[in-house]
């Protein structure tokens, strides 16, 4: 830490992502301005072009985005080396994000779908969470993260307390919020029973089943939920797909590889001329 400042230094970094989690950091608005009084924001390109002297070290680094290019694989090692506490924010950084669907496809063929000259594009074959590359201290789930969870985490870190990130399910947050269970009351399929709490159970409050954007809770019982979803009329293909979206890599690990099956385009649907 620089000698002229006893205040902790915060950095916010971006890898492959949509900026939505960083935006949630910016949207802590008042809290952020208050926090800015307690900590120095040493790197946050989206908020300021000012860089405090010297690259690191940083007391807390928030990392958004997954590792999907050779340059980012190198960059995350440097960020880790420069950071005392490293926190991943969001499904991309924590679980590889939606772009991890490439892990189950053929990245060269993906590139040729989007770009006429895929050879111009530098991309790794996989999009992986930060924890696949370097040790991570805390992981905030969500696509995007929840503002209150972020503020809770930063305040705990500032106060030198261990942050508490809940491991229970969205169902418990529905109960707290007083939302009637959408599976019981409306017969709407819902991933709430296996999805990590944090969002405040938004979807059921809007009459929609949870689609798992916070990823799996600690020790989810996916095996018990799947037949229930089927009984509510959700076709198998939809069940596979709903687990294979914003946290595909995390759910896939749990399901022993079956979540990914949905991510593979069927051979008949492939681009003409591409390998199967």
């Amino acid at each position: 830490m620089p000698a002229d400042s006893a205040r902790p230094r915060l950095a916010v970094w971006k890898l492959a992502s949509c900026d939505g989690c960083q935006l949630t950091v910016l949207d802590c608005q008042d809290e952020l301005l208050a926090l800015a009084g307690e900590m120095d924001i040493a790197h946050f390109t989206e908020a300021t072009s000012a860089e405090l002297p010297g690259p690191g070290p940083f007391d807390v680094s928030l990392v958004e985005g997954s590792v999907s290019t050779p340059a980012d694989a190198a960059r995350i090692k440097q960020i880790r080396a420069d950071s005392r506490t490293l926190v991943t924010i969001g499904a991309c950084a924590t679980a590889g994000g939606i772009q991890a669907l490439r892990n189950f496809g053929d990245v060269a063929e993906f590139a040729s779908t989007v770009y006429a000259r895929p050879d111009y594009i530098a991309a790794l074959a996989t999009s992986t969470p930060v924890s696949s590359h370097v040790p991570v201290d805390f992981e905030l789930p969500g696509c995007p993260i929840d503002k209150h969870e972020l503020i809770g985490l930063l305040s705990a870190l500032l106060a030198g307390r261990e942050p508490r990130i809940p491991g229970h399910s969205v169902c418990e947050q529905c109960k707290l919020r007083g939302t009637a269970c959408v599976m019981v009351a409306r017969g709407t399929p819902c991933l709430g029973p296996v999805t990590q709490a944090g969002c405040g159970a938004i979807c059921p409050a809007f009459g929609r089943g949870c689609y798992g954007c916070f990823g799996p809770m600690t020790a989810p019982n996916v095996g018990a939920l799947v037949p229930w979803l089927g009984r509510l009329g959700m076709p198998d293909s939809d069940i596979r797909r709903v687990f294979a979206t914003f946290n595909v890599a995390a759910f896939d690990r749990l399901a022993g590889g079956s979540a990914a099956a949905a991510a593979r385009p069927e051979p008949g649907r492939r681009h003409p001329g591409s390998g199967a």
Binding site: G20, L26, D27, Q29, E46, T48, I98, L101, D238
Partner: protein, 433 residues
Amino acid sequence: MTHKRERTLVTAGIARVEGEGSLYLRVSGDQVDEVRLDIYEPPRFFEAFLRGRSYREPPDITARICGICPVAYQTSAALAIEAACGVRIDGPIADLRRLLYCGEWIASHALHIYFLHAPDFLGYPGAIELARDQRAIVERGLKLRRAGNAIMETIGGRAVHPVNFQVGGFYSVPARADLSGLADQLRAALDEALETVTWVAGFDFPELTVEHEMLALSQPGSYPIESGSVVSSGGREFAAAEFERNVIEMQVPHSTALHARLAGSEGTYLTGPLARYTLNSRWLPPAAAAAAAAAGLGDSCRNPFRSIVVRAVEVVCAIEEAIRIIEAYRPPSRPSVEVAAQAATGHGVSEAPRGVLYHRYELDSAGSVVSARIIPPTSQNQAAIERDLRQFVQARLELTDEQLAGQCEQAIRNYDPCISCATHFLDLQVDRT
């Protein structure tokens, strides 16, 4: 280093843009030879992994292309899919979509005006530093952004990646009473929005007039936001389904974003606030029209530096529209209409805060996506940005590399390039020979 015949300039890090990229300039003597905007946002291959997904999924999936304009992605995706399935949404569901989209415009423009752009005119590195000296001003920007977010939270469930949006409409719709608090918040925000126009209109704007063909949507009778046909200052007029016949995308080696040009034209074109305003200023609602006139905007605006004034006027417009929709709102009998899949191709366009956003989906009879195409505003604008920078740099060659780098960054921020969509910025390199 004006005496040097050759020069190379590199800026590392164009801050306050959504994404990462760099600018390369090659100058021989007093001639700018090459201007290249490199975009190195990691490619995320959305169009590839949309294949095989259900026709109900693209709004949620493509929202994740950009956390700043998810509603734009959701809307263009839903319009395209509904068009493929032969469904047209109107009445209160369409009004609620426009309301939700107004929320995104307010939030996105407030972010750009106060956090990303105004600090340039006032000589601050960012809003955090600006807030240290002028807290009340930054507070006003935050209030505006909160008003936009409040719309997205009320109608969409959350500000980033709303969950309540779906093909055919919404999962649930508010009762009239649910919107009364929101209307009060918006009425208060209208004053802040008007103050914002006055504030930004007083900045010093460098001279620059751009000659691009302007391209925007048109919804005669109202300012275009959530739908419309495409029109241009060159007299083009076409429906979403004709988009790819009119806009041709090319890949360039230095970018993960594709470049676009208009068919039959060698010139560049521009989409976004300047184009929207220039082609639609007569449809602004009353307070926005009055604010634009008071700010000295005229019927059209071709100075990218003044885009901050146009954005401020559009914030007024979006707030007025939101209030009007809420006041007239009667809940639909059902939150969504049935959209049955059919084997067909559909196209959708809407006005993202940064310009026209086009989606195309080809569906099979079971409702699986066979192919998808997305053309975001930033890649459409990239060639125009490069051309403007060439003109801008040419007039400022006497500056040192450092000064030039700073001013170019500022010029780039005029466009509010959302590089997550087109894909991210940073770095300026100048080769002087």
